[in-house]
């Protein structure tokens, strides 16, 4: 595998505020790489530097062997961007949106026409081709953004929180399309705060927090290293903690109290479960560990504002 994007000590400062703080990472050709993190972690800023719309403050960032730079039209030409905000042209119809955008990439008219027909089919919007943007649902708008990002046959696709605000059907359709693109050999870069999304799509992820990378790795491996395999959640008042911990900690590899819940993390939960049943505790949830647990463990369970 070939490295397609490589960042070394990459930083982004807005005045005195450091949005991205000396991070380094490498993205391989054809993989799906996820930037995870809460709001304001620096994910979007990082991908904006990758797709050349935000200048690098310090460090190096190279994409496909070229330095990422706001005037690098070659890189912009090979990148497709699915933005976080819906930036469709509301004065135009669905088809006109794509047609005008194809011009920005200098795609010849005839080629653009067949490409647009193809893409409208891909995102299942053929029936809406002549609709105005405000007649579309949020899910349709997001799909149109995907079609728009694919017009130039990009080799790198950047999806910045592509499913925010979507219902499950729309979200699954978008995941399917993104996986399909990846299967075609496209390098996919995803930012998200939905851990399920990262688990569904990403080969490797980094967890960002306050401009820094806290952890990097393969999702399943990260979960196993940080949490284990299973989680037992016990809703109980804090007073009983010492007794519960005394009874159960021996069967788990870690525990944590957050609000009304005591969490036990474990690699093999059989004995823990038996013990919990034996103790006949009310309000327990036993479930597999997820990336969300890793995320919350790393970035803290309290609200981030």
């Amino acid at each position: 595998m070939k490295t397609i994007i490589s960042a070394k000590d990459l930083s982004k400062k807005y005045g005195a505020f450091t949005a991205v703080d000396t991070i380094s990472f490498e993205i391989q050709e054809g993989e799906c790489f996820g930037f995870l993190g809460p709001n304001g972690a620096g994910k979007t800023t990082t991908v904006k530097m990758i797709h050349c719309v935000s200048p690098v403050s310090s460090g190096t960032l190279s994409v496909n062997g070229m330095a990422a730079h706001i005037d690098n039209r070659v890189l912009k030409k090979m990148t497709g961007v699915i933005p976080q905000e819906i930036t469709l042209d509301i004065d135009l119809t669905v088809r006109e949106n794509l047609m005008v955008f194809s011009r920005f990439f200098d795609i010849p008219r005839r080629e653009a026409k067949s490409r647009i027909a193809e893409l409208l089919k891909f995102v299942e919007l053929e029936a809406k081709r002549d609709s105005k943007i405000d007649q579309l649902s949020t899910g349709m708008k997001r799909r149109l953004l995907i079609a728009r990002a694919l017009l130039n046959n990009p080799t790198i696709i950047i999806a910045d929180e592509p499913t925010t605000g979507l219902d499950p059907q729309a979200r699954h359709l978008i995941w399917q399309r993104l996986r399909q693109l990846k299967a075609q050999g496209v390098t996919l870069i995803l930012t998200t705060q939905y851990m399920e999304e990262a688990q569904q799509l990403c080969d490797r992820v980094v967890v960002m927090y306050q401009g820094k990378i806290l952890k990097a790795g393969v999702p399943s491996k990260l979960i196993e290293d940080e949490i284990g395999k299973e989680v037992m959640e016990i809703r109980s008042s804090k007073d009983g903690d010492s007794k519960l911990i005394e009874d159960l900690a021996g069967f788990a590899c870690g525990h944590e109290r957050v609000g009304d819940t005591l969490y036990f993390y474990c690699r093999d939960g059989h004995d823990l479960r038996k013990k919990v049943i034996e103790l006949d505790l009310p309000n327990t949830v036993y479930r597999p560990a997820t990336l969300e647990d890793v995320f919350l463990k790393l970035t803290g369970r309290s609200l981030i504002e």
Binding site: V53, I70, T87, M99, D106, N152
Partner: protein, 255 residues
Amino acid sequence: MNLSYRIYHVFFRNLISYKRFVLTTFLVSLIQPLFYLITFGIGMGAYMGYFGGKPYLYFLVPGVLISSVMMSATFECLYGTFVKMIHEHLYDSLIATPVSAEDAVAGDIAWGAFRGLVSGTLMMIVAIVMGILPVSVLSVLLLLAVMVFVGILFGSLAMIVTAFAPNFDFFNYYTELVITPMLFFSGVFFPLDNFPAWMKTFAQFMPLTHAVAISRAVFSGVYTSGLALNFLVILVLEVIAFYAGVKLMKRRLIK
């Protein structure tokens, strides 16, 4: 300045979206100048007698015509651009393509100039219908060129304001404190000859004064030696305003 032929792509985008509201904009860009022509031209003109051997309307039309270019180009690059930038996030998606920030802004200035050209042309048609004719066919063609030339200047000036605007209200400062006074101090409605000396000097600092002078000369075919200076003033201002407008907008767009 990272400018390229892609300016045209941005212009083209505006053209495609224009077709939906072209008729309403015709109405809007006609109403105010028509107002001036009727109230000042016909109403007041009746008391004005002849100006340089011709009815007052011949004096008024080239002034109103070029002011309508100023108005349209200004409003397009204030409100039009602001909506596209802040409300529609259009610039955000533009600069993620091979279109540079400079291309995008220059494309919108070109669009503002085009809107000016449309308004000015409509006014000219109205004037011709009213029987107030430019002196020759050549003069009509030259007037069209002057409209574009002047439109780029006012579009660029407006772009500078837009680059700093936090919201719509901010535009009122510019339109009420700069554009409207300019309309009355630039010799659109009456000659500057009877102004006190300081006001005459003041008027020379207003770009519209020079635009009106050029428009009037071309309309009537009476060219004076001062015309070269008028032309030069507009040209120099235009180059500076264009450069500043594009650079300042880029600073706002690229963070």
